[in-house]
């Protein structure tokens, strides 16, 4: 039995081998994305997004073992965005008065566990990856930690990839950071 038949891979296409050319290109894309975001280059990050983008952060619920499939809540979510609204957020955050991120948090995005899958379309890839996001504000002597599992879809374009779908599965039912004026 191939490992890709495990239930966690259901609905995903053929895996792209770790170290394959496309895999390495996508890994580089994630490193670039994290570096841009961590350095507040939001408009440049915006250029890596496709215009049909759907970007969501569902809520999580604490339920018993038998109900685990219901723990991701997508009726009301923490973030429910598209290309237009993300661009609006970027414009706001780059403006003069987005006080929730002005002064900005110091953020570090550690991306790991990157797994790439082919899809029906030769230029589109599904990616599951983990991100450990740490956020520090003002004189806080602690970090807000936002570990998450990201379910992405990337489209190959001339000079790289564009993100056209991201669902961020967070690990807190009661979110421990005061807002999501940051991108995960």
């Amino acid at each position: 039995m191939s490992e890709t038949t495990f239930s966690v891979y259901q609905g995903l296409g053929e895996p792209v081998a770790i170290g394959a050319e496309v895999y390495n290109q996508i890994l580089q894309h994630y490193y670039t994305e994290a570096l841009l975001l961590d350095n507040m280059k939001l408009q440049e990050w915006g250029s890596m997004l496709a215009e049909d983008l759907v970007y969501t952060v569902p809520m999580r619920h604490t339920l018993d073992l038998a109900s685990q499939s219901k723990t991701v809540i997508r009726t009301v979510m923490h973030m429910d965005d598209n290309y237009r609204s993300i661009m609006g957020r970027i414009m706001r955050l780059c403006g003069r008065s987005a006080w929730a991120e002005n002064p900005p948090s110091r953020i570090r995005r550690f991306v790991s566990n990157v797994q790439v899958f082919n899809t029906d379309k030769s230029d589109e890839f599904s990616v599951i990856n983990y991100a450990m996001v740490s956020r520090n504000r003002f004189d806080d002597d602690f970090f807000d930690l936002i570990p998450c599992e990201r379910h992405d879809k990337l489209r190959k374009v001339d000079n790289g990839f564009k993100l056209f779908e991201r669902e961020v599965i967070i690990d807190q039912a009661l979110l421990g950071t005061p807002n999501l004026q940051i991108f995960l």
Partner: protein
């Protein structure tokens, strides 16, 4: 009559010394002090009506959800007869939580520690090993149920209090109920939640959010000024923020119980939509042209059955759009201008649940009308999530401000500085205003928030 002073804090300060009734100032230490917080838990959160959610969250018999009254976890449950109960989520046996789940459905709540079992109305059912009678013989079964709060449903909203023989919710809401009816009782089928509430932690005292909810319109101009710079209220004429400043005009309603509503004039929106002066239009024409947020022109039919002519007049003129209910609730019934000139509603309700003197849990429910067409529902939910709550481009700026106020309240000098509520209305009700309550017309002022603190003062200095 001698003035009530309330308890004294360890340093000798009387609770009454924290509020200067004449100068309309409040000592900043109220925003961080542990002792004050503990007294609030008893005299406010232990005494008055608290909002826990909406009955549409638990539509079926046996449905339950976990919520908090102050720091106490409670189970909100619909029993086998369909009635809603609120009970302390603490096993009377050894104190284990009865449920650790966010929500679920069951007719029997069984404690996982020793197995004591309770019905969906909180009554004690039994303990395992029946022949040994492990719950003992000293207390009868009727004494071993979960501690029950008193419950009232209003407009589908679930309210509870530990004050079993205290005032009714209707008495608590008082004159302001006339206005809340326009929000929660306006449609025949009623509102429903779009989903479970967003929940997140802000490291701030609950009152930083609570007092702002009592209709602080003023902060919008500065803290949320991006709305005028580039958001929904940016002006075409290039005079940044001017559209936002106009939103500060209207009437503000407050009450001796600290509830507050900002009623904002719809005239400019109606002119934009119809090209006519509102005075040329009937109440019905105005309501059809600009229906209450979340409703369509057709849904306005309902209003003529549910509302009085006086309420309809206010709904077409200066409807309540944002405000609070004491102590920790804010409501939003927003008419949000869209780039294409139309208006889409956002309906939200938050509670700021205290989690210690320096921490609150922001709980955000998003509402739609049951009758709202699916496409509009979707638009409303997405807009609400983008502007309010966790990732809300408006409210996130608040969530970063309240923690700083809480920190300010800790300094030896800062704690003795004061919050000031000295911008006072000198106007009174708008001419022809048909509604009850303390009502003032004009640019937003501090009165509503001051009334909020006066009720805080009244409760905190009340005899035990």
């Amino acid at each position: 009559m001698t003035q009530k002073t309330g308890r004294r804090l360890a340093d000798g300060t009387a609770i009454s010394d924290l509020v200067d009734l004449e100068m309309r100032e409040v000592k900043l230490r109220t925003l961080s002090d542990r002792e004050i917080y503990d007294i609030e838990q008893e005299k406010i959160f232990g005494k008055i009506w608290l909002l826990l959610g909406h009955e549409s969250e638990i539509p079926n018999k046996g449905d339950f959800m976990q919520r908090h009254m102050g720091e106490d976890s409670v189970i909100v449950s619909r029993d086998r007869k369909g009635e809603v109960h609120v009970m302390l989520n603490v096993c009377p046996h050894r104190g284990m939580k009865i449920t650790t789940h966010e929500s679920g459905n069951t007719n029997v709540h069984t404690c996982i520690y020793h197995g004591w079992a309770f019905k969906s109305d909180g009554d004690f059912l039994g303990s395992p090993v029946a022949d040994q009678c492990m719950h003992g013989k000293m207390r009868g079964k009727e004494e071993l149920g979960l501690t029950k709060a008193r419950v009232t449903l209003y407009g589908g909203l679930v309210w509870a209090t530990w004050n079993i023989n205290g005032p009714s919710l209707e008495e608590f809401l008082g004159d302001t109920k006339w206005y809340y009816d326009m929000l929660y009782c306006r449609s025949k089928k009623g509102l429903e939640v779009a989903g479970p509430p967003q929940r997140f932690i802000i490291r701030a005292n609950w009152k930083t959010a609570g007092e702002q909810s009592a209709a602080d319109g003023y902060h919008t101009l500065t803290l949320h000024r991006w709305l005028g710079e580039m958001g929904n209220y940016s002006s075409d004429e290039g005079t940044q923020g001017s559209e936002l400043a106009k939103e500060m005009l209207g009437a503000e309603v407050s009450s001796p119980h600290g509830h507050a509503l900002r009623c904002i004039d719809l005239a400019r929106k109606i002119v934009k939509l119809t090209g006519k002066d509102p005075s040329e239009l009937s109440v019905e024409e105005k309501l059809r042209a600009l229906p209450p947020p979340g409703m369509t022109s057709e849904m306005v039919d309902d209003l003529f059955e549910t509302m009085t002519p006086e309420q309809l007049e206010v709904m077409a003129w200066m409807p309540p759009q944002v405000g609070g209910m004491f102590p920790n609730i804010i409501f939003e019934f927003l008419y949000l201008p869209q780039p294409d000139g139309t208006v889409v509603g956002s309906l939200a309700l938050h509670t700021y649940v205290p989690k210690g003197p320096d921490k609150l849990e922001f709980t955000n429910w998003i509402f739609v009308e049951r009758d709202t067409p699916p496409e509009l529902k979707e638009q409303m939910i997405q807009q609400s999530v983008q502007l309010l709550g966790t990732s809300g481009m408006v409210e996130s700026d608040d969530s970063d401000t309240w923690p700083h106020m809480t920190l300010s309240a800790k300094g030896a000098q800062g704690r003795n500085s004061t919050l000031k509520y000295q911008a006072i209305y000198e106007t009174g009700k708008p001419e022809g205003w048909p509604g009850p309550g303390i009502v003032n017309e004009g640019f937003t002022k501090d009165d509503t928030q001051w009334h909020w603190w006066k009720y805080w003062y009244e409760l905190m200095t009340a005899e035990d």
